[in-house]
Structure formats: structure tokens, C-alpha cells
Assembly symmetry: C2
Homo-oligomer: 364 residues x 2
């Protein structure tokens, strides 16, 4: 990986942050690039990516916007695998010309470019192009959820939530202005990525016809696709448009179309993480007949309310079944627990009691 834009004087420059964290903590060989060359931390700084004596898989570009099109042209020339452009100062600041120039050279060369105005990719355990120092970022473990976000801030925040809930990520991508690589490209990529089981998008808006293509591809995708959308209200639309210069569209239409095509819509950040957690365990439709095992009668009641209000059934158990389950738990619970569904093992239950009850239910 090459990091373009290393500063020899400011160690808090985004390029330096990205260089340092990957060099110290990730399983990647990192090269420093800066137009003026020199030496950084005892290592050669290459003036251009094409000066590095190896072919790069990835260039992370954090130079001023004006110089990015030339850097990209040089990467293409050097046979670099692709680029993440973290620099801002493109379409979101009125410089559509710069953005278009960069995109047209990339498109012509079939060169993959993420950004600009983004955090890029977090691909555990290989690379992490987020320009946040290691101590300011919480990183979930490796797992089976791929997340794509139009907002870097929302992505960083979701990573904290994934980490807290113990849900692992296969890859996280902040697409920023999504000048070239867009949601649709990533949806298609993740559809066949063997490391990804669930695909989730934080969306702000689509270009013309792009939403239609996205939803048709999602409908054909063999993996669960979850979408969390902002810009649902006129005010949200206004906020989105000043944020990443995209059109939010009509939310009601969006929402119904998603639902008709089997895309799971998360209404808020809590649903997003819950859906990811559940769908990473159960990727195929389940029958929706739920057994509830709890250590507290209150939680049993809350859980059954939640199931029934979503038309998921919680069947009663036969007398015979209840007798059988009773045999699966410790004698000291047999007279205080209740064995109908929900099975309330009480606060005195230990792990093995939950396992015993679950083992019986799983045979029904």
C-alpha cells in the first residue's frame, strides 16, 4: 500500500496517521509518497507512486484536491490495483471539474477509485485507511457483515456499536462522494464475496435511475441486504444535499420499493445493529415459531409481546413437553421455574440450565 501526501513536518496530517497505523498495526507493507521525496521515519519517501520499486495493490491519496487527478494518473501508469481518495475539496465544495477529471481518467483505465471525501476501507486484518488515530477508533472483530456508508461519521459510530454488540465485520467502506465506486458496485462485489454473509448500507441518496438498479440487484442477491436511509423528511433531504450533494428522493416510494424487493429496511441505528446480528446467525428464512427461554419473567413477557406484535408465533408447549424440559434443568429449578413458552428459568438458573432447555426446544 502506498500512502500519498505524507508530511515531513506535521505528524497529525491524515496521510501520516494512515501511514503510521497501518505500518504499526496492520498486516500490510506501507510506502510513503510525497512530491518532494525525502526520508520519513528512516524510510525513503518516494516522489510518485510510480517511483516505488514494487507494484502497489492500493494507493491511499490524501493530498490537496488540485493534485489528486495527477496522482491518480500516475497510479494508473504504475499499474496500482486501485485508490482510496480521502481528500476533500471536490463536488461537495463546488469543484465538480476536479472530480470529473479524476473520474474520467479512472473510468477510461478501468481503475477502481473510492471517494473522494471519504474514510475509505477498513479490511481486518489487512488495511485501515480511516484517518483517525488508533486510539480514537473502536474496531469490531473480523466477521461476516459488510457495511457501506455514504457518511464516514456514521460508519465510525456504527463500528463502535458493532464492537459493543460483538458483531464482526468482513469489510467496511466509506464511499464519500462516491464519484466512481458506488453502492451498486459494492453490492455486486459483496454478493459473491465468500467472506461476507450480510450486506448493509447507510444511504443518503441515489443519482437518477441508480436506486432502481440498486433495488433490482438487491432482489437478486442471495444474501440479506439491509438498508438504513437518511433524508426521509424534507429537512433531512436538505441536510443530505448539503452534505454529499446527492438527491434523497421520495422516501415513501423508496421504502415501499425496498420492501417489495425483499430488502430489509432498518428504521434506526438500533434496528440496524439488531438486524445485522440476527441475520449473521440466520441467513435463510426461518419458520417464525419461536421458543423463548429467559431468566426473568418480565423479560419473557417483553419478548413474547415483541414476537406477537410482529406476527411471529410463540406456540404453547404440551404438558408432555413441559415435563420433558423440566428434566433437562437442575433439580433446584424444577419447582420454581415455569416451563411453558416462555420458559422462565428464574434468576437462579445457570448456563447449563439454559443449554438444557434450548437443547430440548431445538428438537421440536
Amino acid at each position: 500500500m502506498a500512502v500519498v501526501g505524507i508530511s515531513l513536518t506535521n505528524d497529525r496530517h491524515p496521510a501520516n496517521v494512515i501511514y503510521n497505523k497501518n505500518n504499526l498495526r496492520q498486516q500490510v507493507e506501507v510506502f510513503a509518497v510525497n512530491g518532494r521525496g525525502g526520508v520519513f521515519q528512516g524510510e525513503t519517501v518516494y516522489p510518485r507512486v510510480s517511483d516505488i520499486p514494487k507494484k502497489m495493490d492500493l494507493a491511499v491519496v490524501a493530498t490537496r484536491a488540485e493534485s489528486v487527478p495527477d496522482v491518480i494518473a500516475d497510479c494508473i501508469e504504475a499499474g496500482t490495483g486501485g485508490a482510496v481518495v480521502v481528500s476533500g475539496g471536490f463536488a461537495e465544495s463546488g469543484r465538480n471539474d476536479l472530480q470529473e477529471k479524476m473520474v474520467s481518467v479512472s473510468r477510461e483505465a478501468g481503475f477502481a477509485l473510492i471517494g473522494p471525501n471519504c474514510l475509505g476501507v477498513f479490511s481486518p486484518p489487512y488495511v485501515d485507511t480511516f484517518f483517525l488515530p488508533s486510539e480514537r477508533i473502536v474496531r469490531p472483530q473480523k466477521g461476516r457483515v459488510a457495511i457501506v456508508s455514504q457518511s464516514g461519521g456514521v460508519l465510525v459510530d456504527q463500528m463502535i456499536k458493532f464492537s459493543e454488540e460483538g458483531v464482526g465485520l468482513s469489510l467496511a467502506v466509506s464511499i464519500g462522494n462516491k464519484a466512481l465506486v458506488r453502492e451498486l458496485d459494492l453490492l455486486r462485489y459483496f454478493s459473491t464475496d465468500p467472506e461476507t454473509g450480510v450486506i448493509v448500507f447507510y444511504l443518503e441518496g441515489f443519482g437518477k435511475n441508480e436506486g432502481r438498479e440498486f433495488v433490482l440487484s438487491a432482489a437478486e442477491c442471495p444474501k440479506p441486504v439491509i438498508v438504513f436511509k437518511s433524508g426521509k423528511t424534507p429537512g433531512g433531504t436538505r441536510a443530505v444535499s448539503s452534505h454529499t450533494a446527492s438527491m434523497a428522493g421520495d422516501y415513501q416510494v423508496f421504502s415501499s420499493v425496498m420492501s417489495q424487493h425483499g430488502v430489509v429496511e432498518a428504521r434506526d441505528e438500533f434496528e440496524l445493529i439488531s438486524f445485522c446480528e440476527a441475520l449473521s446467525c440466520y441467513e435463510k428464512p426461518i419458520e417464525g415459531r419461536i421458543g423463548i427461554i429467559t431468566g426473568s419473567g418480565g423479560h419473557g413477557a417483553i419478548a413474547i409481546d415483541a414476537c406477537l406484535s410482529h406476527n411471529i408465533s410463540v406456540p404453547m408447549l404440551t404438558e408432555q413437553d413441559q415435563v420433558e424440559i423440566k428434566k433437562m434443568v437442575s433439580p433446584r429449578l424444577q419447582h420454581i421455574a415455569s416451563f411453558n413458552n416462555p420458559i422462565d428459568l428464574t434468576g437462579s438458573a445457570m448456563d447449563e440450565d439454559f443449554v438444557g432447555a434450548a437443547r430440548f426446544l431445538s428438537t421440536k
Copy 2:
């Protein structure tokens, strides 16, 4: 405080857990009681509460159900302030007779009794009658929210959430079978308690006419009252009735009546904690014109969607206001932040920038 039911042979007995944690960690003088007397950890074990040479403010009773009515009669005799009965084995196990006996002596004497079949009270920093060892319980800081729960398990779980979100409690009460002290009594108590600013109930069901009285009292209460209810669905009703032998009632009727009387209903556990947090800061109605300051454009869009979808307005700012706010933040943000509402200070903003923008908005 007296703890009745101390075991000299089993240190994991609930009475011992309660004695130990209060003796070691709370600001309370604790006395051990057991019908057979003896010595426990070098201290006298009194055969009866009336044998203790001081008047007790509170007796925590964890003996077998059959002996509880006598223990209560003895407490009344000894002039004890009140009792928490943690023992189970009453109405929830078909022993209505024992429960009624205990209640009738208490009622006659004007004696306050919490439980049975409950965890009792957590009153920081004085007493904690929850029979969970200190290492198995997460306790929030002292604060202004009083919480009353018909389920001990739900209460313990909520205490973890309060702690995680940094919302403090004035008092937590697990009422269990609520044989004597019920929601209505606690609502009235907290209405005038100077340490409580927000009152929250986890409800499973009410006795006949009890719901009506509760809602009328809540309507007159000068403090915000939040309710989270289970037993909303036929299955939930069934679960509730096997849990604490109470009637869940018709949920739709309940919900509309609560809303008409200004009671805040939390639909789930996430709303419960959010409402507590917001209402402990703003106890009086606010105008509902919201200014949003964010470090990420995505979160600004999510926040404005959330406000507008609840009919809370997020007014545009005038050009003049935007110029003024710009002056309140660091020069390095002035060309990358956006100053309309939401104000997006970007990921480069520091605490002082948020404070500056907030200071300006608070004058509008």
C-alpha cells in the same frame, strides 16, 4: 437495617448476600437475624428483630414463606419502620393464604411492606436489598430518576442500561407480588420526594380499578411519569399472568388512556432509557424548536429526520446567524463546516467548537 434469615452454613443464601454487601459497601448499620440465634462473622445473630437493642428502620426478610407472617408481626411489635420481603412462595405459587395473612397484619398496623417475591430497594448510597452479589450487579450513580418495576430481572437489566448511559437513580424499587405497597403508593411518594425528578414504571398489570387511580394520579403529578408495559399481546398477557399473577388488561385502552393523561409511554427498553435521560434534563415542556450541532453530516441528516418525523421543528438559520456562528468556531473549520441547521462542524471539530456553536444557538 435487620436482615432476617441469615444462614450459618450457606454463605450464598440470599440473606447472607444482602447482609454482606450492605455491611461492607453501603452506609447502613446491619444486624443479622435468625430464629436459632448464634454468632455470624463475629457478630451476634439475634433470634428475632425485637431482640435487637435498637429500633430498626428496615427489615429485609428472606426466610421461608411459612415463617414470614410471624416475622412481620414481630417487626411491627418492635416498631420497625418497614419491611422488604424477598422470599418467594406466596401468591405466585398458589399460597394466597400466606400472602393475605401477612398483608392483613401489615395493613392493620399501617406497616409498609414491599414484596413478597421481589428484590426490594436500591437506595444509593444507603441500602441495596437486591440479593445479587456485588460483582453480579451494575449499579448506576445517584441521580434524579426513580424506577419501580414489577420484575426484578427487568430492573437489574435496566440498572445496567442506566449505568451505561450515565443516567443516575434516586431510588429503584422491585415490587414483586406488590401485596401491599403498589405502583400507586410509590407514584404518590415520588411525586413529593425532593430527590426524584422523573418517575418510571415497568408495569405488567393492574388489579381492578387500580389502573384508573394510577393514571389519574399520574395526570396530577408535577413530574414526568414514564411507563413501559408488557402484556400488550394475548401471549404477553399469558406470560405476565404466570409470572406475577396480575391481570394485563386491554393494551390499546391502556395506551390511549395513558397518552390522554400525559403519561409518557415507552414502547421498548431503548425508549425507556432515552426518555429518562431527556426528561431528567428537561422536566418542563420545551418549545420544540431544535438546533442540531454535529461532527458528521450523516448524523445531522439522521437527527433532522428523527425530529421532523415527530413533528419537532428544525428551523433554518438566517444568513446573519450563520455568519455569527462561524465566528464562534476555530478558523480551521470556517471553510469546511456548514452553518445552517444542522450545523455540521465536521470530524475536525474539537469540544470548544461545539461549545461555541451551542452558546450561540442557546441565545436564539
